[in-house]
């Protein structure tokens, strides 16, 4: 299976494009790194690939077919700030199982303790919340995971822990991952291949 972005262009103003004719391709089971400076359009590209932003030009396809706007999206995006990705009025249990019923194995792998499930989001730390966000996104129906700076806000030990788990699960489910970061060392460690946004962006 292939996730492809072809000739993707995007700009908030007509004459000021952030992304121009970007081509990117990601295969199942592949772990691809994307490196770019702050403000270079990394997050925008992620949003376009995951269907969060639809005012762009070009094509995003999954196996040559457009991704349907309704129903479960096989391309899941996980954000940098997990505290924004959870509804503050929901308990963690509901948040975790919003997309699919997360198995006990995955909870254990992520180190999510059962007594956290009864809490409100404001009673957990950012690192803990990010584990929930990842567990929620990694359903059996997910084919591609776009990780937009998902471990930027945690310390290096937690970073290593989280990535170890994610890579294990991804391998098992044969999910393709786009790792977005500006941390070169992290990307070199995790990815089979690396892409620099400035090389594929024609602005």
């Amino acid at each position: 299976m292939h996730l492809k972005g072809e000739n993707v262009s995007f700009g908030y103003k007509r004459n000021n494009l952030i992304l121009k004719d970007v081509n990117i391709s990601l295969g199942s089971g592949e772990v691809l790194g994307l490196i770019g400076d702050s403000g270079s359009g990394k997050s925008t590209l992620c949003k376009i690939l995951a269907g969060y932003e639809n005012k762009y030009q070009g094509k995003v396809t999954l196996d040559e077919k457009e991704i349907p706007p309704k129903g479960y999206n096989p391309v899941q995006l996980v954000f940098q700030h997990p505290e924004k990705a959870v509804n503050p009025k929901w308990r963690m249990n509901d948040i975790l199982n919003e997309g699919h019923f997360v198995s006990q194995d995955i909870l254990e792998a992520f180190g999510i303790k059962n007594n956290w499930l009864n809490r409100w989001p404001n009673e957990l730390s950012g690192g803990e919340l990010q584990r929930f966000a990842l567990a929620r996104a990694l359903s059996p129906k997910t084919r591609f995971l776009i990780a937009d700076e998902i471990t930027t806000m945690v310390d290096s030990i937690t970073q290593a822990q989280i990535w170890n788990i994610v890579l294990d699960i991804v391998e098992e489910l044969n999910i393709g991952v786009l790792v977005v970061s500006h941390d070169r060392n992290l990307i070199n460690r995790l990815c089979n291949d690396t892409v620099y946004l400035k090389d594929i962006n024609n602005t």
Binding site: Y52, Y72, N73, K84, A85, N87, K89, E98, G99, R136
Partner: protein, 285 residues
């Protein structure tokens, strides 16, 4: 959270935690307001006795609020007036809330609908409140129906603005986008994600609308555009008592006015404390 812990055990109710204290305040104030309504309904059955033998008496144990120029007990009159005011206020603010919810939902339906709603809100907010109430009330022929409809039709704009802004802000949240990406329908997102944020706002808005509605009802009646003079409304009691103030009968205005103030503050207290309870940020304090 340490600052919160410190404030918990200070002040009036030592030994209770914040949650118990809040519940206690809500319970006792609601009881007070309910008592007023219930007793006014029971008293309403028998007409007020005019007794010219005991007219214009100063407050005493027998007549705690004194008597008026026809010898009627002011305590009973005030109670009945407050009961009527609370009923009118309650009805008016409920109707206002229904209007708010309808318009709030309408504003999220599309761009044209949204600009129509905000135009309507701006229009209503730009006309002086009391003037609008008087106009509508007169237009509908005055009386209780006129006042209720007039108050109901003029109190929705500010709450509608809050609800509209809240929906707008919620729709841009990441967890709403994520929910859509997880395959949830529009209706599912509206009821599960957005509604829980709106319920406290709307409930609080309604309760805090109460005192406004009561005060507007009283002031319209005071000015002579509201309820008819034979009804024991607070506004009527106050406007009648104005004529006797210069004669030194201060209790005719003082006690009804003070009671009105207490009722308004009681509603305000219920609203604020409910707000504290419903916020999950301090659910465990």
């Amino acid at each position: 959270m340490s600052t919160a812990v410190v404030t918990v055990n200070r002040g009036l109710f030592r030994g209770l935690n914040l949650r118990q204290k809040t519940l206690l305040i809500i319970g006792s104030t609601s009881l007070l307001l309910l008592g007023i309504v219930v007793s006014s309904v029971f008293l309403g059955g028998e007409p007020l006795q005019t007794n010219f033998g005991s007219k214009n008496l100063a407050p005493s144990l027998e007549h705690p609020f004194g008597t008026d120029w026809m010898g009627r007990d002011m305590f009973v009159r005030t109670l009945e007036g407050l009961g009527l005011s609370i009923l009118v206020g309650g009805l008016a603010s409920t109707i206002s809330t229904v209007l708010t919810v309808i318009l709030g939902l309408l504003s999220s339906a599309g761009k044209t609908a949204d600009s129509f709603v905000s135009w309507l809100v701006d229009l209503f907010l730009s006309i002086p409140h009391l003037l609008l109430i008087i106009l509508i009330s007169i237009g509908l022929g005055g009386g209780a129906t006129g006042v209720i409809i007039a108050v109901a039709l003029t109190h929705w704009p500010s709450l509608t603005r809050v609800v509209r802004a809240e929906i707008k802000q919620l729709k841009t949240q990441e967890y709403i986008h994520i929910s859509r990406n997880l395959g949830k329908s529009k209706w599912w997102i509206a009821s599960k994600h957005i509604l829980p944020h709106l319920v406290p706002q709307i409930l609080l808005g309604t309760i805090l609308m109460f005192p406004h509605a009561i005060l507007h009802e009283a002031s319209v009646t005071f000015l002579g555009f509201g309820l008819s003079p034979h009804e024991p409304a607070i506004g009527i009691i106050l406007s009648e008592s104005m004529r006797y103030l210069s004669a030194g009968y201060w209790w005719l205005a003082f006690f009804p006015g003070l009671s009105l103030l207490i009722v308004v503050l009681a509603f305000d207290m219920i609203g604020e404390n409910l707000g504290k309870l419903m916020n999950p940020k301090n659910a465990h304090e």
